[in-house]
Each structure stands twice: as C-alpha cells, then as structure tokens.
C-alpha cells in the first residue's frame, strides 16, 4: 500500500500566510541536499532525527509519519483554506529527498480537493521531480545564484542541475514562481539579482520573481544544535536596499515583489 510509505518531517505549521496563496498549512520535510550558510531551518538539513535545545529544553527534531497520520491535522483547517483560497505547502529541508512520500502526500491532498504548493531548490534528478509534478498546483522554486562556483561555495552544491530542472519544470506547464533569498555578501548586488531575474524571464510561463530578504530568525537554532552560525556578522538588508533590488528585478519585465 503506497499510503504506508513513511516520511520524515519535523514540523507542521498552520496559519502560514507567506508561502503560497491564502491561509496554508506547511509540512516541513527533514533532510536536504544543500547546506546554505544562511539556512533559517538548520534542524531541517540532516536526514537523521536529532535533538535541539530550545529555551533550555531538549526537543527531538524529526518524526516518521504516514500520510494517514498527518492528513487529519492538515484537514482541520479546511474552513480557512476555503475562505482564503489557501491549501497545503510542502517545504523543508528539501522535499525531493523524499519524493515518494511527497508524491503520496500531495496526491492525498488533491483527493481532498486542496490546493497544493511545494517549495524546493530542485537540486535533484528530474525523475524525482516528475514523481510529484502531477499533483502540484504551484511550484515555488529557489534560484539563489547564477554563478555555479559561488553557488557551491555558499550552498555546497553547484547550480547546473538546478537551472536545467527549472527549464524542465517550466516546460511541464505547472505554475512556477522563482524565489531568491537575498543574502548580503552572497547575492545582493544588482548584477547578481538582475542575472537571476533575466534567467527567470526566459523560463516558459514564468511570470513572477520574489525576493526574500535575509533574516536572522533562525540563528539561535544553530547554538541549540551545537553548530556554528557562520553569518553572525551579517545584517539583514535595509528596506531601501530591497526596494532598489526590486526595481532591478522588475526591469526583466516579470512581476516582482519583496517577500513570499
């Protein structure tokens, strides 16, 4: 029975209003191919179940669940999805690390008539992406940098496969939005943002590019996991800076905005 596939998740967050249309529930998958230095969910990176210290208390991060285990919680906000045009978003971690589970979960959501979205950096073989595409209404894809060397330096992987996948996902006809976390010192020059925006513009059917300003809300978690946060010195970009980068991105002709 496919329903019995287990997935490893670390959180289900209800009333999320920044990742897709309407009021949404986000299911966070555990495990990621990349190691972005700014990651605000560092507890999502390792596939292994681990412990984090939060407010002096030890908390276990990660739990194995079946689709049937988590559907009731997802469905309990149905009145809110209906009123707001919301639904479910799968995020991570990297959902493509567990594409089979993601597919089953998305399929179950579609069977309930829910709007589905995924957030993914898509650094995986396209065969994994193909597994989920039939059940995805909105694909939120991160493109962080056009220069593969710099990409690898900050995220531990190059960007070749990502850019290739972006084209294929766009070709598939799914609604695709490109998102870029704006990280000072990594990709916050107008040239870097402009390059991403122009690439996004070449993707078939893509109309939107969102710029997500770097924030430090996850920085305390690094200490809780006994890890070092390498971006300690970095300040979030100013509002003016973001507005400027927005105007740069908009020059591509895409609909751009700050935030998800």
């Amino acid at each position: 029975m496919p329903q019995e596939i287990k997935g490893r998740i670390f959180n289900i967050q209800r009333y999320s209003i920044h990742d897709g249309p309407g009021i949404r529930t986000i299911v966070f998958f555990k495990g990621c191919f990349m190691r972005c230095a700014w990651c605000c969910n560092p507890e999502s990176q390792n596939k292994e179940i681990e412990e984090i210290i939060e407010k002096d208390k030890i908390k276990t991060v990660g739990k194995d669940v079946t689709v049937a285990d988590i559907m009731p919680e997802i469905l309990s906000d149905l009145p809110f999805y209906r009123r707001s045009g919301g639904g479910v978003t799968l995020s991570g971690g990297e959902i493509l690390c567990q594409a089979d589970f993601a597919r089953e979960l998305l399929k179950a959501c579609k069977e309930e008539g829910l709007h589905t979205a995924v957030e993914s950096a898509s650094s995986a073989s396209f065969s994994e992406i193909e597994k989920i595409l039939p059940y995805v209404d909105l694909y939120l894809m991160d493109i962080k940098h056009m220069d593969s060397v710099k990409h690898k330096e900050y995220t531990a992987v190059g960007n070749e496969r990502i850019l290739e996948n972006a084209k294929k996902i766009a070709e598939s006809g799914v609604e695709l939005i490109i998102r870029t976390p704006v990280i000072p010192g990594f990709n916050d020059t107008p040239e870097e943002i402009k390059a991403i925006s122009q690439f996004a513009k070449t993707l078939k059917g893509v109309n939107e590019h969102h710029l997500l300003p770097y924030h430090r809300l996850g920085s305390d978690k690094y200490a809780g996991l006994g890890r070092n946060y390498s971006l300690k010195e970095i300040e979030p970009p100013s509002r003016e800076k973001m507005e400027y980068l927005l105007s740069v991105a908009e020059a591509s002709g895409l609909k751009c905005k700050i935030g998800g």
Binding site: R14, S16, G22, I23, S76, D77, P79, F80, R83, S84
Partner: protein, 843 residues
C-alpha cells in the same frame, strides 16, 4: 497597491482637539454631586421618580457648561477635559475613603483638588443609608453578600456601587421628533389615563417625570446656544466666530426638535449620549447602529450638495474625540477590573437590516475612518459580519485592526441572531441587534439587558470542590465530600458542578437584590423615555418598562477549569500519577512554591487575625513564623515540595491543553462552559425577565485571579486567569486557526449575553493587501464555525515592553484589553504583563 475604500483626509482641527483633551490628568469635579444633594434635600416629600426628574432638572439648569477650543460638537459634563462627576445616590463610601489616594493609584488615577475634597466630605454624610448600594446590601441574602464581599466567588460590584447603564436607547427617534415630540407622546399617554385607574398614580408620576426631564434637556441645550452666541460676539477670529454662531443655532434647534441636517443630527446625538451619562453613572451607554440611524441625514445633505464627504468626516471625527471627554471614577478595586478609564460606548456598523439585507452604507466606512483619524479608546467600534458582508467593509476594518488600537471588534450575525431569538426576540428585532459595552448583544430601544451583571469566577467553585465547600476557614458551599475518598473522575466533576450551581444561586440572589434597589431608589425617567415601551406602560426601565428584560452575569475561567479537569481525569484517574488528595495539598502549597510578595503579607494577616479571634496570643515572633511558613513552607520537607513541583510539571507537560484543536479537550471545554451557561439560564430576574449568561471577564481575570489560589491546570496562586473563552495564556501553541477551531467548539449561542475571544497578532501578519485579505478570511472562517466575537491586538511584544519601560513615550498607545481598548500606560503593571504574555500569533 492596497485598495481601501473611503480614505479621507483628516482635518487639522482633530489633532488640536485631541491634544487639548489629553493635556492633563483627568479631574474629579463636585458640581453634580452638590446639585443632586441639594435637590434631594428639597424633594423629600415627592415620589422617587419625581425626585429623580427634579434632581436631573436641577443639575442641568445649574451645572457649569463649557465650549472647548475648536469644538464643532459641544456639550461637556465637566469643565476639565476628560473630567468626571460623582453620583452619591449610588454609593460614595469608597470615594470618601479614597479621596486622598485616588490621584496616586496605579490604575486610572484622577486629580482632585482640596476644595473638591472638602465639598464632597460635606455632602456625603447626608447620603448615609440612602444609596442604592445601601438598599442592595439590605436586600441581599447574607450568604450571597459574603460570597461576593468576603470570598470573591463572584462580584456584582459594578451595579452594587454604580448605575446600570448598559443600554442603547432609540437615538433615531429623538433625531426624528426631538424631545418636544417625546413630551407630546408623554402628554398623549397622560391624557389617556383616568384618574380612577388603579395604576394612575404610578403611571402619571412617571410621565410627569419624563416631561420634566425632557424640558430640562431642552433648557440645557439652550444654555449652550446662549454660551456659543456670547462667545461668538467676543471672538476675534472670523472663522471661529462663524463656527460659534452655527453652534448657537444648532443648540437652539436640537434636541428640542427633529434634526434637519447631518450636523444637527450629530449635535443631537451628542446631547443624548452625554446626558444619559449625567443622569446616571452607569457605563456602556452604547450608540449602537450609528451608521443606520444617522444615514438619512447624511444622505439628504450629500444629495443636496449641502455637505462634502470631508466636512461630514470632520464632524464624525469631532464626535469621536467627544466620546473621550466623558469619564468615570471607580473604586480602586473596580478600576483594576475596568482598567483604562473604560466607558464602553460601543458603536457598531454593518450587518443585516431588519429585512435580512446588508445595511452597509458610506457612513459605515466613514465611522471606521473616524476611528483611524482618532486613535483613542472611545468609542469602542464594532463590525457586524455576516455571510453577505461586503469584502471592502471588512478590508477597511482589517486596516483599522492593523493600526494596533485593538479596534474594531468583529461580531457574527449568523450566530447572534438565532441566539437572541431563542431568548424571545422577534426575527426583525434580532436582525437589528447592536452591541452593548464589551460584547453584549441587544435590540436597541427596546431592552433593559442588565448586561455585565456580575463576574463569576468559575475557578472558585473548583477550589471549593477540593475543600469540600470551605473557604478561609468557613463553610460557604455545600457538602460534596472529601476528595481523598473520591473513586471516579465523575464524582469529582459532579462535586465541582454542585459547588458551582449553589454559587450561581447566590449570584442570582445578589443580582436580584441589586436590581430591586435600583428599581426603588434610582429609576431613570430620561433614559426610560427613549426605550419602548416605558411611556406606554407608564413605568421606568428599572421597573420593567422595557419590552425585553434580561440579566446577564458573565463567567470566566473556562480554559483553566478545562485544562485542570482534563489533567485530573488523565493523570489522577486514568494514569494514577498522583492522587486527588495529593493534588489538593499541592494546590494548597502553591505546588511547593509558597506565596510571595503582597499576597504573602495578606495571607499572614488573615491567618494571624483568625488566630487572634480564636483567642491565641500573637506576638511579632509568631507573625514571623507564620510569614515564613506562607512564603517558604518551612514545615514541608524538601521531598514533599519537590513532589508538588513534579505534579505541576506533569500537569503542564503531560496533559493536553484547550486551544490546540484537540477534539476531546475542546468538547470538555464545551461541557465546562455549559455547566455555567445552562445553569444561569434557569433563573428569572426582578423585572419579569430571564437570566442569560455571558462568557467573558472584561479585565477581571487579572484582579479576580489575584484572589484565586493555585488551580489544577498548573496555574500558580494569584496569577491571572485565562481571559475570555480563549485558551490560557501561552498554552495555545498551534496558531490562530487551531485556536479558532477549539473555541468554535463551545456552544457559544447559549451564552447569549456575549462571548469574547482575544487574539494577538504581529503587524507583519496584516502586511499589504494580501495580509488584509487573509486576515479577513481568518475571521470569516472562525465565524463560519459559529464563533460569536473576536478582537485583536496588533502590536509587537517589543513595543509593549518598551512602553512599560518608557511610558512617557507611549502616552497614546492604545491596546485591546478585553471587550474594550485602553491606553496601555494607564493599565496596572500586572494587566500590562498579562497582555504582553498573551500568545503572539506572529507568523
């Protein structure tokens, strides 16, 4: 871009009016107190209803009047801005004993001059034994009086010490026919009476009192007309001179005659609103469906080109400022419960009309705009929401919510209409409901709702279940058995319900005793003449003159009791982690943490006093021993204390909590709520009406929490109780949708006197049009599930903490407290902390 309707430029006059109002600390004045005493002394041979109208007339003829700089709408109860008058006919002892401390207390301080103090000290002795409060006490069963005064199980203190208020009169009628028209109605009614009728005396006395009151109001307006004329003649600035001349003309015409323009309608409205609060000290005098009854005057002027939207908005804004010119001094304890100079003047827009169609009009939007232009606590603006509410109205309302003043509150037609119909309202009347005070629905102009009749602390019967009815060494509740002998959860739950039902009986006695006192000593002819069918029946509202009569006492503590009972069921009876007797002892010792600070001193005094009563000789050393025991519990071993702390931890960590969308727990909460609401509705009141429960604490969850010991949900002694029908502070960890789902499981319709759900949001959750749209969807989804009311504080935790540290920087920071908004810096420290600690839904 955000597309928000009716964004209208704010007149520069408004800021000046606000600054003038908030320049100084509010002041207590003595003129009304002196005048009412003078009049009462002269009318000892008259029936009470005529003494009331004579006193009202005497006050209106002689009270000093003032037109403040830049005002377009005039009429003030006091010379000092935001000042207050006193009402010795209701009670006075508390103020007499607090005269020297009222200006320095933490909650709602008032300046009072030495001269005023001396004047009040002179008039007060005459009132001894003559107040409503004196009679209420005499009327009340001793055990009910003690449950209220000694044991704080419930407190009807509001009406025990003050007028009733809590009414929405028929403003529209006065706009239409003026007080001259109402006098005519009373005269017609008089003409229909035969002097041989059995009730001729009482009816005619009432009608004469109505006529005298209305004449006095007309005369009062004429005084303003004369003052404005006089000021105009001396005014050098030609623009202001013209304004004063118009004011003079307005006040010569209204409220004697029907209003002929929007401006006159606004001035009429204000005289009604003001004078209701001069006749009696009752708060929650609510304007109700202002957008509905004001609209014809607005529409006529707009259509005729006599007024622009900007001019109409300026008049509304001026009114909004005036709402904050009315003030009330309460005793120190009540001031904690109603903190923030609350006047609870609830003004509601939108919703269905009597035909079941949407009633939203331009004024609905402009009222919200006024609340944006005048970010002050009054009036409490509310929005009626139903399936057919236009989205732009709710978006506009959400944009107001985002400003962070805690306004507006949202109400759900789809549950309130059937809920009050079940209490006997006709369909048309139910569709025309408005909100009184905090959250209480009523049909305006036809109801004496006695909303807010008392706060009932549902955690106290829970304590009594543990103590077998004992409190402070005295048996005050029924025998429900020793918890050590209880074999099942049901046995304990039943004990709680038995204690609660008995206390509700006492509450009903207390309410009816107070009701009778107002009926006999303070009938209100002016207020009554604007409520149907007082003139027809020839009796005042207080004597049962209204079509609909209710008494609505409100319970709170649902979340604490639910979490406690769930913990007892699971940890004591199912898992046997500790026994009920152990839990009882743990609660007594505050889970091994002892009692600290002022509460420790109070308890020490209580114990010492009790020992002295029993003939024990107490010296300083003995007091030290008692104090040490209270604070450190030296007689308990470290092991026992550790065990009690472990019990608290188990309750906190291993028992599910209300507010997280857990079906079984939420259904438990429903049953707990019903144990109060369905008991209360069994009783009848003194005016021929029925009791109906509300579920909301205003801000009494803090002061009444301070007289409640540790509770089985793990809450420490004397800390705040859960507010409203929401989860206990900080225990809802699944976000606002889960909270809404939980709270919607309560049978809110049975609480037809209103329910209250507070939510706190971070401003980022309402950012941009998309934030507003999603916020509106959240409200609608809660209401789809039959939620009755919801309100929001939108402010960052950091802002509130900074305001605590630097109050001078945040003089006008308004936050939602409970059913109302207040200036944050005027709240007591503990209430500030409570607001800061409410879970912030910020993602």
């Amino acid at each position: 871009m955000e597309n928000i309707k009716f964004v209208i430029e704010k007149s520069s006059r408004i800021e000046k009016l606000i600054n003038n109002l908030y320049e100084k600390m509010p002041e207590i004045e003595s003129s009304r107190g002196k005048l009412v005493t003078e009049s009462y002394k002269m009318t000892e041979d008259l029936p009470i209803i005529k003494r009331r109208s004579a006193a009202f007339a005497h006050i209106l003829r002689n009270i000093p009047i003032v037109i403040r700089d830049n005002e377009l709408i005039v009429g003030s109860a006091t010379i000092a801005p935001r000042g207050c008058q006193v009402f010795p006919e209701y009670s006075y002892e508390w103020l007499l004993s607090e005269l020297d401390t009222v200006s320095t207390r933490s909650a709602d301080p008032f300046y009072i001059s030495e001269k005023t103090k001396a004047e009040l000290r002179e008039i007060y002795p005459w009132w001894k034994g003559k107040t409503t409060s004196d009679l209420a006490k005499a009327n009340m069963a001793p055990e009910a009086y003690e449950a209220f005064t000694e044991h704080a199980v419930f407190t009807p203190g509001n009406y025990f010490y003050n007028g009733i208020g809590h009414v929405c009169v028929d403003y529209g009628k006065v706009m239409k026919i003026g007080y001259r028209g109402i006098i005519k109605e009373a005269e017609d009614a008089l003409n229909k009476l035969e002097i041989s009728d059995g009730d001729y005396v009482s009816r005619s006395n009432f009608l004469y009192a109505v006529i005298e009151s209305c004449e006095a109001v007309i005369e009062y307006a004429r005084r303003y007309s004369a003052l404005a004329k006089d000021m105009a003649s001396k005014e050098a600035n030609p623009e202001r001179k013209r304004e004063l001349e118009i004011i003079s003309r307005n006040c010569a015409r209204v409220p004697e005659f029907g209003a002929t323009s929007f401006y006159e309608a606004c001035q009429t409205f204000w005289f009604i609103q003001l004078l209701l609060q001069v006749e009696s000290s009752g708060h929650s005098i609510s304007p109700g469906r202002f957008d509905t009854y004001m609209y014809p005057y607005f529409k006529k002027d707009i259509d005729a080109g006599k007024i622009t939207y900007e001019q109409a908005q300026e008049l509304l804004d001026c009114l909004w400022v005036k709402f904050n010119d009315i003030n009330k001094v309460r005793d120190a304890a009540s001031a904690d419960g109603f903190a923030g100079y609350g006047m609870f003047q609830n003004l509601i827009v939108g919703g269905q009309n009597i035909h079941g169609m949407d009633s939203t009009n331009d004024l609905s939007y402009m009222c919200i705009e006024a609340a944006m232009h005048v970010p002050l606590p009054q009036p409490s603006i509310s929005i009626r929401v139903w399936n057919g509410s236009p989205e732009p109205l709710l978006i506009k309302a959400a944009a107001l919510t985002r400003l962070g003043t805690g306004l507006p509150a949202y109400y759900n037609d789809e549950i309130i209409i059937p809920s009050i119909m079940a209490r006997g309202l006709t369909l048309e009347d139910a569709r025309d409901y408005c909100i009184i005070g905090c959250v209480e629905p009523q049909k305006a102009g036809k109801t004496d709702g006695w909303h807010d009749a008392a706060f009932f602390n549902m955690c106290r019967p829970m304590e009594l279940a543990f103590s077998n009815g004992y409190d402070k060494g005295k048996k005050i509740g029924p025998d429900t058995g020793d918890v050590a002998n209880m074999k099942t959860f049901e046995e304990f739950y039943e004990a709680y319900k038995t204690q609660q039902s008995y206390m509700i009986k006492l509450l009903v006695n207390a309410n009816n005793a107070i009701d009778m006192a107002h009926m006999v000593r303070c009938p209100l002819p002016f207020q009554s003449c604007m409520v149907e069918d007082c003139i027809g029946r020839g009796k005042s509202l207080q004597e049962g003159g209204a079509i609909y009569n209710f008494t609505g006492p409100q319970g709170f503590g649902i979340a604490n009791n639910t979490d406690g009972l769930v913990a007892i069921k699971k940890l004591v009876f199912e898992e046997k982690r500790f026994t009920l007797a152990e839990l009882r002892d743990a609660l007594k010792s505050n889970f091994g943490y002892g009692i600290k600070g002022a509460q420790a001193e109070r308890l020490t005094t209580e114990i010492a006093t009790e020992l002295v009563k029993q003939g024990v000789n107490i010296n300083e050393d003995a007091i030290r021993v008692i104090y040490d025991e209270v604070t450190n519990q030296s007689s308990l071993s470290a092991d026992v204390k550790a065990r009690y702390k472990e019990i608290k931890r188990l309750i906190e960590e291993e028992s599910p909590k209300y507010g997280n969308d857990i079906y079984d727990v939420d259904m438990f909460a429903r049953d707990v709520a019903n144990s109060y609401t369905k008991e209360v509705e069994k009783y009848k009141n003194a005016r021929g009406g029925i009791f109906q429960a509300g579920l909301y604490p205003v801000s009494a969850n803090v002061p009444l929490g301070a007289s409640t010991g540790a509770t089985p949900d793990g809450r420490l002694a004397y800390t705040p109780l859960a507010d409203g029908i929401g989860p206990a502070s900080g225990r809802d960890i699944k976000g606002p949708t889960a909270t809404a789902n939980s709270v919607a499981k309560l049978e809110q319709g049975v609480a037809s006197n209103g329910t209250l759900l507070n939510q706190k949001f971070h401003p980022s959750a309402l950012a941009g049009m998309s934030g507003l749209t999603k916020f509106v969807a959240l409200i609608r989804s809660y209401f789809d599930q039959k939620g009755m009311h919801v309100q929001f504080n939108v402010v960052t935790r950091e802002t509130l903490i900074d305001a605590q540290k630097n109050p001078e920087k945040y003089k006008t920071l308004v936050v939602r407290v409970a059913g109302y908004s207040a200036l944050f810096t005027t709240l007591s420290r503990s209430l500030q902390d409570d607001i800061i600690n409410r879970t912030e839904q910020g993602w």
